[in-house]
């Protein structure tokens, strides 16, 4: 059985993000792009210290991607007279976030970044399906699934943490099922916030994630 161990939604004004990182680490994280900082703050909030060395996979999606950093790079490459600063180029490569946070999550074994192709629609169905498959295979002990977005006005993050082992106070378990339960929520970037509302309420024992993309099985949450 795969258990849901954390549901988290965060939002920061860009100026607040470095302080959130300092609060989480006890020190600043130098030369880290905003998406990396957002990933670090959320991952540490989802995993208590005693679980940070367990074999972990990180699957994260983003609508914005490193948009602001890409604009800076384009400006340097197309309008500047010299080559871009290496850090500005590195900041446009989202995969680098995982390398930087591995120092603080020593169990982080692999990471996958999935940029999204449409606004308002997410791939939680894919992320959670992969997480369930990999946990059932024994490929890792826990999986962090996230939606991370960074814009000029705010940095937003939504997280779900899943574990193969029983965890005290786990609010729900997950399965891949044939068909959907009566209660469903759409596959949108803020799905974890909708899931948290359902967990806090009392309507029905199961909730399914309704994706516009048809796969043969559906992700279903069951209250514990």
């Amino acid at each position: 059985m795969i258990r849901l161990t954390a549901v988290l939604s965060q939002s920061f004004a860009p100026v607040e993000l470095p302080a959130a990182v300092r609060a989480a680490l006890g020190k600043p994280l130098r030369r880290a792009a905003p998406l990396t900082q957002l990933a670090l703050v959320g991952a540490l909030a989802c995993l208590p210290a005693e679980r940070r060395a367990l074999p972990t996979a990180l699957l994260w999606q983003s609508t914005s991607g490193p948009r602001l950093e890409t604009l800076t790079l384009l400006d340097e490459v197309c309008s500047g007279g010299a080559e871009p600063m290496p850090y500005d180029f590195l900041a446009t490569q989202p995969a680098i976030a995982a390398a930087q946070i591995q120092n603080f999550l020593p169990g982080l074994q692999t990471a996958m970044h999935l940029p999204l192709d449409s606004q308002g629609v997410a791939n939680w169905s894919l992320l959670l399906s992969l997480a369930i498959i990999w946990l059932n295979e024994g490929r890792c002990a826990q999986v962090l699934c996230a939606q991370l977005d960074h814009a000029a006005a705010a940095a937003c993050a939504h997280w779900l943490a899943l574990s193969r082992a029983p965890i005290e106070n786990s609010p729900a378990c997950l399965h891949l099922v044939d068909g959907a339960s009566n209660i469903s929520r759409p596959d949108t970037p803020d799905f974890p916030a909708r899931l948290a509302e359902w967990l806090a309420g009392h309507d029905g024992p199961t909730l399914s994630l309704h994706s516009p993309v048809a796969m043969k099985l559906t992700v279903e949450f069951t209250r514990l």
Binding site: F89, A95, Q109, Q119, L126
Partner: protein
């Protein structure tokens, strides 16, 4: 219950040719010439696609439609998994300021789906040089678990100055040629490619026996020189495939001629394979390093070589680096290969190992 996953078809368009068999033939013949791409006052060797179109988007459409033509008729609802490190940034460079980037980072993937005639699920992956195997891993996991029956996995990396300038600024590019594992290696040579792998639950010649991705946070630009993390991923991949290291007959190296990464990969291989080193082959001197497309492009090229029992020599290698002390093939071979390992060691710490095995 997990099902086996097969590679039913491949397609490839790169500097060496417009199909996997054409590329394999060019590699067998030792073709490895590169063009040039200028960046300000500097010029770098570059493996560009043989396309004359000046408009970036028109050129991209031609490349993607060429690939679709190689695959033949596809079911429109076939899921599409797109891998790239740069998507359509070259298009915005060409349009110039003000840069009107789309609000969704991977909107180019939808455009690719339209050009391919695909209207089903579309997923995008951007993990720098390991993007292709990340996409392959996701697709094969869903097929193995029975959630989908087939998938098109497409890698695309097309010319742009942003990537070239970024690598140049970090002094990671060679000004002459890629020399894998060679004592004189001095950096990468970049290139373009579009490649696809059609995965299916239906039996075909090649089966994915193992695929594992990993992460090395030693540095954002290169792996730990001791190669320990790379070795861990390869060992995990062998375990998944239920194989011993001695079962691997050929390794398609990551080796691109990068001083640090080549050394780390060599140390990893020594730790896993010891004295029983399989045949070693790098395709990058012939294709260039095609970044997010490289995994799929090199997989398509390698399978075409293996199907013809014609393994090319590794161009660019002639002088042994005593620190590496490993020898990529410098002579062509007609050896029949049943199992091959493909390694990716990516910018940003991404790692991947794939084992393919002949079926039946």
């Amino acid at each position: 219950m997990m099902r086996p996953v097969f590679i039913a078809k491949t397609a490839l368009f790169c500097a060496r040719g417009d199909s996997p068999t054409a590329v394999a033939s060019a590699l067998w013949n030792g073709e490895c010439s590169a063009g040039q791409r200028k960046l300000g006052e500097r010029a770098f060797p570059y493996f560009g696609l043989p396309l004359d179109e000046a408009d970036w988007m028109v050129r991209s459409e031609k490349a993607v439609r060429q690939i679709a033509g190689q695959l033949g008729q596809l079911q429109p609802e076939t899921p599409l998994f797109v891998a790239s490190s740069s998507f359509q940034i070259g298009h915005f460079e060409q349009l110039g300021a003000p840069f009107d980037l789309p609000l969704a980072a991977a909107s180019f993937s939808r455009q690719i789906g339209e050009w391919m005639g695909l209207s089903g699920a579309c997923y995008s992956f951007s993990n720098a040089c390991t993007s292709g195997f990340s996409a392959l891993d996701a697709a094969r996991s869903l097929i193995a678990a029975g959630l989908i029956d087939d998938a098109i996995v497409l890698g695309v990396e097309l010319a742009n100055d942003s990537t070239l300038a970024g690598f140049a600024a970090m002094e990671l590019l060679s000004r002459t040629a890629g020399r894998p594992f060679d004592a004189r290696r001095d950096g990468l040579v970049l290139g373009e490619a579009v490649a696809t792998v059609y995965l299916s639950a239906k039996p075909a010649t090649w089966r994915i026996a193992g695929l594992r991705t990993g992460l090395d946070g030693f540095s954002t630009t290169g792996p730990n020189p001791d190669g320990s993390r790379i070795a861990d991923v390869t060992v995990d991949c062998l375990k998944e495939a239920n194989l011993k290291s001695a079962d691997i007959e050929l390794i398609k190296l990551q080796a691109a001629g990068s001083p640090g990464t080549d050394l780390a990969e060599a140390n990893a291989l020594r730790s896993v394979f010891g004295q029983n080193m399989p045949l070693l082959l790098s395709l990058k001197p012939g294709l260039g390093h095609t970044l997010g497309a490289s995994g799929l492009a090199e997989l398509a090229a390698l399978l075409a070589c293996l199907e013809a029992d014609k393994i090319p020599a590794t161009a660019g290698f002639s002088k042994v680096d005593p620190e590496i002390a490993l020898f990529p093939m410098v002579e062509r071979s007609t050896e029949h290969i049943e199992r091959a390992l493909l390694n990716l060691v990516g910018f940003g710490g991404g790692l991947a190992s794939l084992i393919v095995e002949r079926h039946g």
